[in-house]
């Protein structure tokens, strides 16, 4: 696994490429770019064949361990890698600790162990155990075990502890990585802790920069208490731009989380290479279509404001959301009971569902779309926009049909992939 930095500018961002995966010699991807968010091994609402209808490009897939913990035993017995077990061997696998969209109530910490919020409950595991699981999973890239469970609400004491533990563990983790025949050729990503404390970030980044790893994950920016897109942009940008100063330029930089597109642009400019697709997925699961217009000449300007497609004709305000929960028909025994299914879906996300109202997308359940027979977006070449209308998606949402999030995921992922293509295009011109 190799990362090559092609061009960079400390204020305008960088262009690079990921390649040389032992297992997948043809793989190569330009950065800045995305890793595909998965939970429990799959992209929510997408089967492999539908993913092929969105893109045949091979993006790495992000596998959060907390959503896979229940199958660690099965994978051990299976003896083949995680990506084979979940049926996606063609894709580069990237294993991390925490699902960026997972939401759970607070819990205690245990010394020398880190917490995993799994479907079956909280698990405390040691870094040794984590490394054993990685040997079974055999991911192409993986994040080092860390105590990065911090957010903007964490106390200095808690954040300080998190850095102490993360640094202390890492030295041993690196030794295990180097001496493991399975892991030593995989890409190791060092997690950088430090919450929202500049000094602590600096300390952790400096320490990690001493190790010859593939790259760094700037971790500990949000937790389930507060989703990424709810963190004030200024606070998070201060941390990002400070932290990257202490990371070696030629190595990969990753940030997880459902940041809104304007924050993503700011992070790109401060030198982040990789993001995940939790933002488009979260929007799709909430009945929202990403419609922000990234086809603007000043995309990488400091004061860029992304607007919705068609918003130039007057700002749209969301009106009443039709109450589609009146599933009287189904309650009376057509038997499908979408409600039941729905609740089990959100249980998977924890106790509270992450909200995601934002000005980069529209909520298709809005009654105004009832008879809107136009596609989500004119000139979008995705399957959803080519074949379906807003009125149809509105109908699917009101009837709680499973196809609604499928169609929205198709459009949102397509839109997000194109957004990054555009970002790289601008960088090529401006670097």
């Amino acid at each position: 696994m190799k990362f090559k930095l092609h061009q960079f500018n400390k204020l305008r961002g960088r262009l690079g490429s990921l390649s040389d995966v032992e297992r997948l010699p043809d793989f190569s991807m330009d950065t800045p770019n995305i890793f595909l968010y998965t939970t429990a091994g799959c992209i929510p609402n997408l089967t492999y064949d539908v993913l092929q209808k969105i893109t045949t490009n091979v993006f790495p897939m992000q596998y959060p361990l907390n959503t896979l913990y229940r199958i660690t035993e099965a994978i051990k017995l299976y003896k083949k890698a995680l990506h084979s077990f979940v049926g996606q061997p063609e894709y580069v696998s990237y294993c991390c600790i925490q699902d960026p969209l997972y939401s759970f109530p607070r819990r205690k910490h245990k010394l020398e162990l880190f917490t995993l919020n799994t479907i079956g409950g909280i698990e405390f595991i040691s870094y040794e155990k984590y490394m054993e699981i990685m040997e079974d999973f055999q991911p192409d890239i993986y994040v080092s075990p860390s105590d990065c469970d911090t957010s903007i609400f964490s106390s200095t004491k808690r954040t300080c502890n998190s850095v102490n533990i993360t640094n202390r563990w890492f030295e041993n983790v690196y030794k295990i990585h180097e001496s493991s025949p399975i892991l030593k050729n995989k890409g190791l990503i060092a997690a950088v802790a430090g919450g929202y404390d500049l000094m602590l970030r600096e300390r952790c980044a400096k320490y990690m920069s001493e190790f010859p790893v593939l790259g760094y994950l700037i971790d500990g920016l949000f937790t389930d208490e507060i989703a990424a897109h709810e963190v004030p942009i200024d606070s998070v940008m201060k941390i990002i731009s400070h932290t990257v100063n202490f990371l070696p330029e030629e190595r990969l930089r990753i940030v997880h989380g459902s940041w809104d597109p304007e924050t993503v642009l700011k992070m790109v400019k401060s030198g982040i290479d990789i993001f995940d697709t939790s933002f488009p997925i979260l929007n799709a699961e909430n009945g929202r279509a990403l419609l922000f217009n990234f086809d603007v000449p000043n995309l990488l300007d400091d004061d860029v404001k992304l607007r919705l497609h068609g918003e130039e004709n007057g700002v749209k305000e969301e009106t009443s959301i039709e109450n589609g929960d009146s599933d009287i028909v189904d309650q009376q025994g057509s038997g499908d009971n979408p409600k039941k299914f729905k609740s089990s879906t959100s249980a998977n996300r924890g106790n509270t569902k992450i909200k995601c109202e934002n000005r980069f997308s529209i909520a298709l359940k809005d009654t105004r779309y009832f008879d809107d027979l136009t596609p989500l977006m004119e000139n979008c070449s995705c399957l959803t926009c080519e074949k379906h209308t807003k009125a149809y998606i509105h109908h699917l949402l009101c009837t709680n049909e499973l196809l609604a999030p499928v169609l929205l995921t198709i459009h949102n992922l397509h839109h997000y992939i194109e957004f990054f293509r555009k970002i790289r295009e601008h960088l090529k011109k401006q670097l």
Binding site: Y78, S334, F341, L373, L403
Partner: protein, 400 residues
């Protein structure tokens, strides 16, 4: 489509079984040609359990079913008309069939009341009383625009007997006349009458005969997916298929379990529909030749085989039972994966039936199917008896 003769349905029989009443053919409909015998998956609300229209085409489906009652409520006939019909609204270019809405109403709404005029019910979305008359059912179905539409019938429980059954049989016939005269799009939609008569062979015979006098292009047999005994069920099918004209398709409503389909094909039926294969998928159930497999069961946790090692579906080619076990009923993707397998299973069953009739080896197909479904060799009495009636003997090992 455009160059075809202006006919809303043209049925051509390609081959008939020399032993049983089974036949295979092609039904040309305005939107697509449909090979029979055919299984039609149910897309109640204008969508099929999270499966894209493109995926349905890739699975080989040529016709699917929509429910008039649900679509009439949401999104409603006005919007469907504005959209240019359900085909355009849901992005499905191939053939569609809609039911009349009557069955749903009677089975879903306890407050439904049936009079000579139609079915009276309380709207689930408001306090108003609504009335579904034969004319209204056809008006909605004309707006939906399916290739095949159903008459409104007077549904009674299949286990009922007595004067109510007689009333429903004759009323269904009267309602057929009203439906036919209310029909505004005879050039691109065809109405199927529905044979009623519960479990009374005499009434079923009368009902069939009455419908045969009308100018219709196909027939449906209703009231056969209720709680009636299997020993009654197959006889009720045969009462009609024995006398119905050979050159028109016969549709057994609500029947879709693999074994029932095989028997009904032997008895001369051509079309089937059932929510089961798609509905059961979301509860973690996969269909296989030897029965249902509930992937939620713990025993699959370390089972690294596909659902069915002989299945060529996208799910079986890519996923193990162990992985499916870890995501069923939790991830919507698991539901899609099982739906794809179950739809593939139904499709390959129908393909095998069609091919075996063409090759004149349908009886052998039935025997091998039953041996897989009942590996102990203990066949239910009704299966032995119904097949024997159409000259297929399960106990014989020799070729007929």
């Amino acid at each position: 489509m455009a160059q075809a003769a202006k006919s809303s349905l043209k049925f051509t029989i390609l081959a008939e079984c020399n032993t049983s009443l089974a036949r295979t053919g092609v039904m040309n409909l305005p939107h697509h040609a449909v090979e029979t015998p055919v299984f039609m998956p149910v897309g109640t609300q204008g969508t099929l359990k999270g499966i894209l229209p493109d995926q349905l085409e890739e699975l080989g489906y040529q016709i699917i079913l929509g429910n008039t009652y649900h679509l009439g409520m949401r999104p409603g006939p006005d919007l469907l008309k504005k959209a240019g019909g359900l085909h355009k609204f849901m992005g499905w270019d191939r053939a569609l069939l809609t039911d009349s809405g009557g069955f749903q109403m009677v089975s879903l709404l306890k407050l439904a009341e049936i009079t000579e005029d139609g079915v009276k019910f309380k709207s689930p979305y408001g306090a108003d009383d609504c009335m579904l008359t034969p004319e209204e059912s056809i008006r909605i179905q004309n707006a939906i625009g399916a290739d095949i539409i159903m008459q409104l019938d007077d549904v009674v429980e299949s286990t009922l007997s007595g004067p109510r059954v007689e009333e429903s049989t004759y009323r269904t016939s009267r309602w057929l006349d009203r439906c036919l005269s209310a029909h505004e799009r005879p050039d691109d939609q065809t109405i199927f009458p529905i044979v009623q008569g519960a479990s009374d062979p005499d009434l079923r015979l009368i009902s069939t005969r009455m419908h045969m006098e009308k100018d219709v292009k196909g027939f449906a047999l209703g009231g056969l997916s209720g709680g009636e005994a299997k020993s009654v069920f197959w006889k009720m099918v045969l009462v009609s298929t024995k006398i119905l004209p050979k050159d028109k398709p016969r549709y057994i409503m609500g029947v879709g379990f693999a074994t029932d389909i095989v028997i009904c094909c032997a008895l001369g039926a051509d079309m089937f529909d059932c929510v089961f294969p798609t509905r059961t998928a979301r509860f973690g159930c996969a269909l296989t030749a030897s029965g249902q497999m509930n992937l939620r069961q713990k025993k699959y946790k370390f089972d690294f085989q596909p659902i069915d090692s002989e299945c060529e579906c996208l799910t079986c080619k890519r996923h193990t039972r162990a992985y499916l076990n870890s995501i069923v009923t939790v991830q919507p993707t698991a539901c899609h994966l099982l739906t794809i397998h179950n739809l593939y299973f139904q499709m390959s069953l129908m393909r095998s039936i069609r091919q075996s009739i063409k090759d004149q080896r349908f009886p052998e197909f039935v025997r091998s199917y039953m041996n897989k479904a009942y590996p102990s060799g203990k066949f239910p009495h009704w299966i032995l008896k119904s097949l024997r009636t159409v000259n297929i003997d399960l106990s014989s090992d020799s070729k007929s």
